[in-house]
């Protein structure tokens, strides 16, 4: 860990001044900038125009007049309800993931029982399970548990599929806590729970933040579980709400773009205020 951060810090500093500009890579990066930038610009620009203006101006022109009409239409068109559902699911997933993963990682690193080594290998294998392949049995299980068509039905499997990576990341950081600290707390008369609460949690704040972000992103972006485990319109989360907006805004492209943009807005704010945790969380997301 130290080695990694040392290199990345010293890299920029020790650059020799003789380096030539890399034109080919520069041109290449400029092309990618266009590929990423134009759609994002278009999405923002469409969403701020009235539909008639948008049709007159065409897809790439700057908006001739800026309006919040689409915003109002999306928010009053059910978005607030979807947002609330997504927030509930996300908060529940983060809380449950941390409440379950931290003690598990603690036991995996500190317990001497064979069970902890076994559990570690199981969770390692768990990284490989594709969630898509389990939707039919999950549908059956959730139905039998009388949970179909509830937010709980979305939360439970989402937490379960986020656990392997969460536990492995937390266990990795717990291994850096030195034995002396555990021993010192034991001498002070602390039991395992107090050690967890007063030593393990404060010492692994960084990984807890990263895992929390990862769990939040996973819940926020979840599409498949809500799709198959709920049907009540009042229980739609944002991603499913988007799907419905498409049908409703069949020809209202600006309205659709506003809806897409609004679902990403909270993540964008997180990107601005907590870029580091977000990137760490995203790294986890992508590896699923």
């Amino acid at each position: 860990m130290t080695v990694v951060s040392d290199v990345s810090v010293s890299g920029p500093v020790s650059t020799p001044p003789k380096e030539r500009p890399n034109r080919i890579a520069g041109v290449f990066a400029a092309i990618w900038l266009v590929i990423v930038g134009v759609p994002i610009y278009t999405m923002v620009s469409w969403s701020l125009q009235e539909r008639d203006d948008f049709l007159d101006n065409g897809p790439v022109a700057l908006p001739s007049a800026i309006t919040l009409e689409n915003f109002t239409e999306v928010v009053t068109g059910g978005f607030a309800r979807y947002l609330l559902n997504t927030v509930i699911v996300t908060v529940a997933c983060v809380v449950l993931t941390l409440a379950v993963a931290i003690p598990a990682a603690y036991a995996i690193v500190r317990s001497t029982s064979w069970l902890s080594g076994f559990a570690f290998r199981i969770f390692l294998l768990g990284l490989a399970i594709p969630a898509q392949a389990t939707i039919i049995p999950l549908y059956l299980i959730i139905n039998r548990m009388q949970l179909y068509d509830s937010l709980t039905a979305i939360i439970l499997p989402t937490v379960a599929f986020g656990l392997p990576l969460s536990i492995l990341v937390l266990a990795g950081s717990l291994r850096d806590v030195s034995n002396e600290l555990y021993d010192a707390m034991t001498i002070d008369g602390a039991g395992p729970f107090r050690i967890l609460w007063q030593l393990v949690v404060p010492m692994s704040r960084g990984s807890i933040a990263a895992v929390g972000t990862y769990a939040a992103l996973g819940a926020w972006n979840q599409f498949l579980f809500p799709l198959i485990l709920t049907q009540n319109p009042d229980l739609r989360v944002l991603t499913l709400g988007l799907q419905r907006f498409r049908q409703e805004f069949q020809i209202n492209l600006p309205g659709m773009m506003m809806a897409v943009m609004l679902t990403a807005l909270p993540v964008f704010v997180l990107y601005l205020v907590a870029r580091r945790w977000l990137i760490a969380g995203l790294a986890g997301m992508g590896s699923r």
């Binding site: 990694v4 951060s5 290199v7 010293s10 890299g11 030539r20 520069g26 990066a29 990618w32 990423v36 759609p39 994002i40 948008f54 065409g58 449950l96 379950v100 598990a104 603690y106 036991a107 969770f123 390692l124 768990g126 990284l127 490989a128 594709p130 969630a131 898509q132 389990t134 939707i135 049995p137 999950l138 549908y139 059956l140 299980i141 379960a160 656990l163 492995l168 990341v169 291994r175 002396e180 021993d183 010192a184 707390m185 001498i187 972006n221 599409f223 991603t239 799907q243 498409r246 020809i251 492209l253 897409v260 679902t263 990403a264 993540v267 760490a280 790294a283 986890g284 997301m285 590896s287």
Partner: protein
């Protein structure tokens, strides 16, 4: 006091093997250790909603179930049908084609962008933060955004002639999926390569510069070999990811035109939740599990989780 004295040398020896928990030492006063009960909540969650469904999907593949009532055992019928199903063969072919095309386009672009973004200039940091914007959108949002951008009448596609009806032809729709998934996932892989490229020891380049190596030589003989492990990790994540694309297919092409962009997970979803042939869909899911697991085990084997973690640390 006695305890501290006794502990010190042990810690010294532990430092050489920091990755493993301290082995049991019965002679010394017991350090507080958590019992295995701390594992129980996580094990329950994971067992009930991830591990058990994996077993159940194999069982369901030997049953007939229409979504109501109980699944009825029908032996190997689903599997016999699967082996002779020309459409499943098509769907597997499409999935593999998308996987290969996705890998072949995403890897070089992400590699070059990552190496470029690892460079020291200030403007690269700013540009990189724009490059990563697609990561902020969910798969559903990306797919829906592009389905509107590629709208043949009002979208961006309408402005650029050859792409106007891109979603209307089988090869165009496949190309659109490769492009949109690339747009969405290249930033993630760029992050991996950027982190790895920053860790390539500077002295290697300095030495090569003294020897008069060209930039191309340095890339080919230093950067690429040094990134070997990251290429393996990134490629495996990419391949497993492409095998399980779902939102992009459902929301961008809905499998169309015709069935030309059906992939394995999409076919499974349609068979299950649209045709209510849950038994047959489970057989398709089992195939998906076997392929994805085989590839994921290669991730763990070749790259190891520990390295994955250090890649994340490097960000």
């Amino acid at each position: 006091m006695t305890a501290t004295v006794r502990v010190a040398p042990e810690d010294g020896s532990d430092a050489t093997a920091p990755a493993r928990p301290v082995p049991r030492r019965p002679s010394r006063p017991a350090t507080s250790r958590p019992s295995s009960w701390y594992l129980l909540p996580a094990a329950l969650f994971f067992g009930v909603f991830a591990a058990f469904p994996l077993v159940l999907v194999v069982f369901l593949s030997f049953t007939s179930w229409e979504g109501i009532g109980d699944p009825a055992l029908i032996g190997l019928d689903n599997w016999v049908r699967l082996v002779g199903d020309a459409r499943v063969l098509d769907v597997v072919g499409t999935t593999l084609l998308l996987t290969v095309l996705g890998w072949a386009t995403q890897t070089p672009i992400a590699l070059l962008l990552g190496v470029w973004a690892a460079g020291p200039q200030r403007n690269r940091a700013i540009l990189s933060s724009i490059f990563f914007l697609p990561l902020l959108l969910s798969s559903a949002a990306v797919a829906l955004m592009w389905s509107r951008l590629l709208d043949p009448y009002f979208g961006l596609a309408a402005e650029f002639g050859p792409f106007q009806n891109i979603l209307g032809t089988p090869s165009g729709a496949l190309a659109a999926i490769v492009f949109v998934t690339g747009w969405q996932f290249i930033p993630f892989h760029t992050l991996l390569y950027q982190a790895a490229a920053r860790n390539v020891p500077k002295v290697l380049y300095d030495a090569a510069t003294i020897d008069g190596a060209t930039r191309w030589h340095m890339f080919w003989y230093i950067t690429l070999p040094q990134l070997r492990n990251t290429i393996i990790t990134s490629s495996t994540i990419m391949v497993v990811g492409s095998l399980t694309y779902f939102e992009t297919i459902l929301l961008l092409t809905n499998g169309g035109p015709g069935t030309s962009t059906y992939t394995v997970p999409f076919e499974m979803y349609i068979r299950g939740f649209r045709s209510f042939e849950f038994g047959y869909a489970s057989a398709i899911a089992t195939v998906l599990v076997v392929v994805a697991t085989a590839i994921s085990l290669i991730i763990v084997k070749f790259s190891g989780f520990a390295k994955m973690r250090s890649t994340m640390e490097g960000m």
